[in-house]
Every structure is written in structure tokens, then in C-alpha cells.
């Protein structure tokens, strides 16, 4: 009796445990935790696709302040020892104090571990080369635009030799002239009232010669006073916009050194 009771109890306990384990009611689901993705944190400058030139610039830019102070204030008397003015500056005790302070500052900065190995003698800031640096910056930007252009051109299937500005370049020029052009409002509408002006540009966007009015004869004709007014307003716009603040890619200067501007107020005057 005792054995059978113990056997039954064991059996029941076994069945009870089996029920708990096998039935889903008692089975708490496991949390669906997404797998862990390992991300390696790296410094941006090391792995991004920034072109070679801009990398150099970045390196150059940071020590600029340090080198600038050294070169403009400290190195000047050394480079030009015959310069009386600069010698006088060194003799001035207040100036000397400043220079000492700046020297300390520069030393402090030079001691910084990250910057130090990047400073090279060649990278020293030269104010005379500032323009070149700026140009390089432009080049990098324009390089990106050019790649876009090539994409467009390939879509358009236009030969690469044809002269063409990108839409953004064309819009930039158009926007500048739109700001400069005071439209003579209230004129009667005339289908033929389009003023064509050829402009000759320098690389910096300034006019290399006076604007050329292509309909000069019509402008001076009696009875064409409205056209003359319109033409004069267009010429004024060209002169007001001289020099252009934004110019297209300098590498393609030959393409845009001569532009024809068609001043067309017809939509505005149609009313």
C-alpha cells in the first residue's frame, strides 16, 4: 500500500511536471531580441571619400592660425631683417610681451598630440597663396558638380564638346541679372521687344570689355523709343551686375567667357 501510494505520488508529480513543461499556457515565450549589430566607431576624416586636395586643406586649415601668428608677427623680422619698421616693432617692449605670449600660445598648441605630426613645413600658411587655396576649394566643389553634369549629359546624349552650363549655373547667372534689371513697367506689349546683349567676362566675373548691344541699329531708330528704353535698362542691368558674384566652373572658362543675355519682358508686359 505504501509503495503503491509512493509510486502513484511520483507518477502524479511526474505527470504534473510534464504538463507544465509541455503545455504552451505555461510556457512563457522568449523575447524576440534582434541580433546585435556590431558597429565600429571610426573618425570621419579617415574613411570618408573626401578628395585628396580637401584632405590636405583640412590639414592645412587647422595649423593655419598657429603658423599665421608665427609668420606674420614673429618671423617677419627674421625674414626681412633689413626692414626698419619691423625691427622697431620688436624693440617695442609691449610688442615684445605680446610676441612672447603668442610664442607660449603657439608652443601650447604645438604640444597637442593630434595636431603636431600633421604640421609640415610645406603646409605653412602663406597669405599670398590664399587665392590658390580658395581656388582649390572651388575646384573640389565644382568637381562634384561636374560629375553630376556628366550624368546629365549622358542622359541627354549631348556631345561633351558642346558648350553648356549646368542648370544651377545658368540659374545662378540668371538670378543675378534679374536682381539688377529694373524693368521699365507699363510699356505697351510688343512681341519683338527682346533685347540681346553679348557680355565678355573675366574669370572673376567682371566685364572684360563693355557690353555689346546686338540690336544697335534698332535702338537708335526713330520711333523705337520703347525699345531704346528697354535696351538701356538691360545695359544698366549688366553694368549694375559687374562683377558677377557667382561664376560657373573656372575650368570651363572658355565656354562662358562670352555670354549672350536675352532680356525678355514680354510675359511681364503682356498683362
Amino acid at each position: 500500500m505504501r509503495y503503491s501510494l509512493i509510486g502513484s505520488l511520483i507518477l502524479h508529480v511526474f505527470i504534473f511536471l510534464l504538463t507544465i513543461v509541455s503545455l504552451p499556457l505555461f510556457n512563457t515565450p522568449e523575447l524576440d531580441i534582434p541580433p546585435i549589430i556590431q558597429v565600429e566607431l571610426i573618425e570621419i576624416a579617415e574613411k570618408t571619400n573626401v578628395p585628396e586636395i580637401s584632405k590636405k586643406q583640412e590639414k592645412e586649415e587647422k595649423p593655419k592660425k598657429v603658423e599665421k601668428k608665427e609668420e606674420t608677427k614673429i618671423n617677419q623680422p627674421i625674414v626681412k631683417p633689413k626692414d626698419e619698421k619691423s625691427n622697431e616693432k620688436v624693440k617695442d617692449p609691449v610688442e615684445e610681451e605680446k610676441i612672447v605670449k603668442k610664442k607660449i600660445e603657439t608652443k601650447m598648441i604645438e604640444k597637442m598630440p593630434v595636431r603636431k605630426p600633421e604640421i609640415k613645413k610645406e603646409d605653412k600658411f602663406d597669405p599670398l597663396k590664399l587665392a590658390e587655396l580658395i581656388d582649390k576649394q572651388k575646384d573640389t566643389k565644382i568637381e562634384k558638380e561636374e560629375t553630376k553634369d556628366l550624368e546629365y549629359e549622358s542622359l541627354d546624349k549631348t556631345p561633351s564638346i558642346s558648350k553648356k552650363l549646368t542648370l544651377s549655373e545658368e540659374d545662378a547667372i540668371r538670378a543675378q541679372f534679374m536682381k539688377c534689371w529694373s524693368i521699365p513697367l507699363g510699356m505697351p506689349y510688343d512681341e519683338t521687344h527682346i533685347v540681346k546683349i553679348r557680355i565678355y567676362l573675366n574669370k572673376d566675373g567682371s566685364l572684360s570689355q563693355p557690353p555689346e548691344m546686338l540690336q544697335h541699329e534698332r535702338m537708335n531708330k526713330p520711333g523705337e523709343e520703347y525699345f531704346r528704353t528697354l535696351a538701356e535698362s538691360a545695359i544698366r542691368a549688366v553694368r549694375r551686375c559687374d562683377p558677377l558674384k557667382k561664376v560657373p566652373d573656372i575650368n570651363r572658362y572658355d565656354d562662358w567667357k562670352i555670354l549672350q543675355l536675352n532680356f525678355d519682358p514680354r510675359e511681364i508686359l503682356r498683362g
Binding site: S182, P184, M187, T229, A234, A237, L259, G271
Partner: protein, 441 residues
């Protein structure tokens, strides 16, 4: 072989033309701000300062106000000037004027020759760095205001391509008294509201004064013993002439472009039609013969066409016909009632009053009825009249009276074709029915 040669040649030229093609950029929008212009006080000799100081200052103010009122120019504040008129008298330093953003520069000299005032003025393009207009005017000293208007006209003409309208006058009906006992007088003034004077005493009711386009003469309608009469008034001599008694109702007499005819609407046997009276022969000719009401006729500037309004189609609309009454056709196409059509002196537009949904509009449309543009909207406004260059319209506007009939007033307003330059024309009292003269000869 030859075929191949030409083919290569063809490709060569295509290639070359592609290389040398110049990039074209279309500029289809621009800056709509008024043109900045620097108006200097004219230079004078120190020995004549006593007389010429005020004239110089006043002339600048008049020119400046004229050009600014047009909405096309912005006169730069003289405090911003860098170069003084003493140095400028010799030669303007253009860079100084460009610095203050002046695109035009007006300089001049004043001198006295006995009682006469000699005015020399020059207009400079500061961007092109050249003189673009110069003029010498000799007049009496009292005439400085008119000379200022004439210079402003020259500047306007040179910079906009069309004649100015500053040396002009406005004739209108001056009103005073309560609405049921209104006294109406003819009044005349310069377009800038100066030199104001009354032409009639106010004993008789006067209506619809209109300028002769070629002479300093006005035609208007006046009621004498309750009979409408059409008068001619010579502004220079003050001589008044009765053109004729027209029993029944007479409306809006208006001159033909040559000033030798008067076109008007006469109501005979209860029907209004368009009639033309030859001022030399005094023969009256009927141009429309329709049971509907035909009124407000106006000639085209070449005299070949006449526009008028008629309700023959069920509502008041604008019509155009030849100058012999033939080829009458409706040109207004929009909804609402159209009235008082006036042909622009430029010939390209017809101004009108439109009544739509209880509001009154002054608008313009092309002579074929297309391109309708409503320039201004108000509770009540009508009677458009063009400036001599067809760029600005004057009209009158009434303000609403309250329940007791108080607060009613009427005033003259101007608006240009852009619809943005709306200004009130200053008058000593209430004013209605304005008419703008051509340039004073």
C-alpha cells in the same frame, strides 16, 4: 569621292559651329522696384543766391515729387549725396553716385538774365557714365514751377521711352454742401494740385467737363433754367461759348482727337443715341439708332473708331464702331455691367468702370475686349480719364454716407496701369468727374 568630301565638310562645320556656339541665357523676370534717381539742387552763382536759392530748392522738390508720383522712380534723399553740387557743376563723380545706388542723376545750372531765368539741365546715366539728355529753358522767374514739370517730363521721356504727363492740368467738378443741395463748380489745377482756381461761380449745375486734346479748351454740360446746354470754355482767355441747347437729356460731351468735333449722347423721344456735332459747321449727325440706351462715346486717338456703352444686349456693355456708326460690335465679355469706356491716348487700351456684385471697379481691356484687368475696387467709383501718355488713369471715388446722410464725400484718385500705384489727388474740397489735359503746348 566628291560626295564623301562634302559629307566630311558638313561634319566639320557642324563641329565648328558647336564649338563656337555662345551660351544664351534668357532673363524673363526683373526687379520691379522704382528706378533710384538722384535729383540735385541746381547750381547758381553766389551773387544771385538771394533769388535763386529758393528757386533751386523748390525746383528740386517739384521734380522729385513728380517723378516719385509716377511710381517708376525713387528720388534719393539729398542727405545721402556724397558729391556737392558745387563740384558736380564741373563734372559728376559717377562712382560717388553709384555708391548711393543712383542709376540716374539730374544736375543743372540756374542763372538770371535780367528778369529772365535761364535753366540748364543735364540727365546722366551713372552706370554708363554718360550724359543722356540736356536742355536749356529760358522763362520768367515766376514760371519756375512749370519749368520743373517740363524737366521732369524730359527725364521721364528719356528713361521710359514715352512722353511725360507732368506739365498738365486737371479740370474737375468741385462739390460742396449737403447731398440734396449740392453746389457744383468747375475747377482747374495743375496735375500736382497746385495753381488751383474755380472756373464757374456755382450758380448753375455743371457736369462732365472734358479737355480738348489739342487746345486749352474745355467742353462741359451745364443746366440753364433746367435745360442742358453744352458749353465751350477757353481756359487761357476765359471766353465761354454755347455750343447748343439740347432738349431732353444730354450726356458726356467729349472732343474728337482733332478737337473739331464733339461726340455726345442725346436723349430724344425717350431714347438715347450717339450724336456727333461738327464745331465748325455746327451740323449734328446721328451715329447710332437703337431702341436701347447708348451713352458715353469716346474716340480712338486716330479718330477711326468710337467706343461707347449700350444695354442693347440686356445689360450695359462696351461696344466699338467705326467713325461713321457702322460695324457696331460688343467687345466686353465678362460678367457684370460695364460703363464709361475711354480710349487710351496710346490707342492700345480702353479704360472702363465695371459694376459687379455691388462693387465698382476701374479697369482696362484691349481694344478687342481681351485682356481685361481690374485695377482698383471700391464701394463707388467711376469716370476714368487718361494721362496724356496713356499710363495713368484718374477717376473719382465716393465714400458711403451713414444712415443720416452724413459722411458722404467724393475725391479724385489716380492709378497706373500696373495697378499698384494708387494715390489720392489732393483737392481743396470734394471733387468728382475729373478730366486730364494733354501736355500744355
Amino acid at each position: 569621292m566628291i560626295k564623301r568630301f562634302f559629307l566630311i565638310l558638313n561634319f566639320y562645320f557642324l563641329f565648328i559651329s558647336n564649338i563656337w556656339a555662345i551660351i544664351e541665357i534668357d532673363i524673363t523676370e526683373g526687379n520691379r522696384e522704382p528706378l533710384p534717381i538722384a535729383i540735385t539742387e541746381f547750381f547758381y552763382n553766389e551773387t544771385e543766391k538771394e533769388i535763386l536759392l529758393d528757386i533751386s530748392t523748390n525746383m528740386r522738390n517739384v521734380m522729385s515729387a513728380d517723378l516719385e508720383r509716377s511710381g517708376l522712380f525713387k528720388s534719393i534723399n539729398k542727405d545721402a549725396f556724397i558729391q556737392n553740387n558745387q563740384a558736380m557743376h564741373l563734372s559728376p563723380r559717377f562712382e560717388d553716385w553709384r555708391l548711393i545706388k543712383a542709376q540716374g542723376l539730374i544736375t543743372g545750372d540756374l542763372s538770371l538774365k535780367g528778369d529772365q531765368l535761364k535753366v540748364e539741365f543735364r540727365l546722366w546715366d551713372t552706370l554708363a557714365e554718360k550724359e543722356i539728355e540736356a536742355l536749356v529753358l529760358i522763362t520768367t522767374q515766376e514760371n519756375w514751377r512749370r519749368v520743373s514739370h517740363m524737366i521732369a517730363d524730359k527725364v521721364y521721356e528719356r528713361l521710359t521711352g514715352e512722353g511725360g504727363y507732368f506739365d498738365t492740368r486737371i479740370v474737375y467738378v468741385a462739390e460742396e454742401g449737403p447731398k440734396n443741395q449740392r453746389i457744383k463748380k468747375l475747377a482747374i489745377m495743375d496735375q500736382d494740385s497746385f495753381n488751383h482756381r474755380f472756373l464757374t461761380s456755382g450758380k448753375e449745375l455743371v457736369l462732365t467737363p472734358r479737355f480738348n486734346p489739342v487746345r486749352q479748351e474745355i467742353t462741359y454740360l451745364s443746366y440753364f433754367k433746367n435745360l442742358p446746354r453744352v458749353y465751350l470754355l477757353d481756359i487761357q482767355t476765359g471766353i465761354q461759348e454755347i455750343v447748343g441747347d439740347f432738349p431732353g437729356m444730354t450726356f458726356a460731351p467729349r472732343f474728337s482727337p482733332d478737337g473739331n468735333k464733339i461726340i455726345m449722347s442725346l436723349a430724344r423721344e425717350g431714347n438715347s443715341d450717339i450724336y456727333v456735332m461738327d464745331l465748325i459747321t455746327r451740323v449734328v449727325e446721328r451715329f447710332t439708332d437703337n431702341p436701347a440706351i447708348d451713352t458715353s462715346p469716346s474716340y480712338s486717338p486716330d479718330g477711326r473708331k468710337i467706343t461707347f456703352n449700350s444695354d442693347r444686349g440686356g445689360s450695359q456693355q462696351i461696344y466699338v464702331m467705326d467713325n461713321n456708326g457702322r460695324n457696331q460690335k460688343r467687345i466686353s465679355k465678362g460678367t457684370g455691367n460695364y460703363a464709361t469706356p475711354v480710349w487710351s491716348p496710346r490707342g492700345d487700351l480702353i479704360a472702363f468702370t465695371k459694376n459687379f456684385q455691388g462693387q465698382y471697379f476701374i479697369g482696362v481691356m484691349r481694344v478687342d475686349g481681351t485682356g481685361e484687368r481690374l485695377l482698383t475696387e471700391n464701394w463707388y467709383q467711376e469716370a476714368p480719364s487718361w494721362s496724356s501718355n496713356g499710363r495713368v488713369i484718374i477717376f473719382y471715388r465716393e465714400s458711403k454716407a451713414d444712415d443720416q446722410g452724413k459722411g458722404h464725400s467724393s475725391s479724385i484718385w489716380s492709378i497706373d496701369l500696373t495697378g499698384f500705384n494708387e494715390r489720392k489727388v489732393s483737392t481743396p474740397g470734394d471733387a468728382s468727374d475729373p478730366s486730364w489735359s494733354r501736355l500744355i503746348q
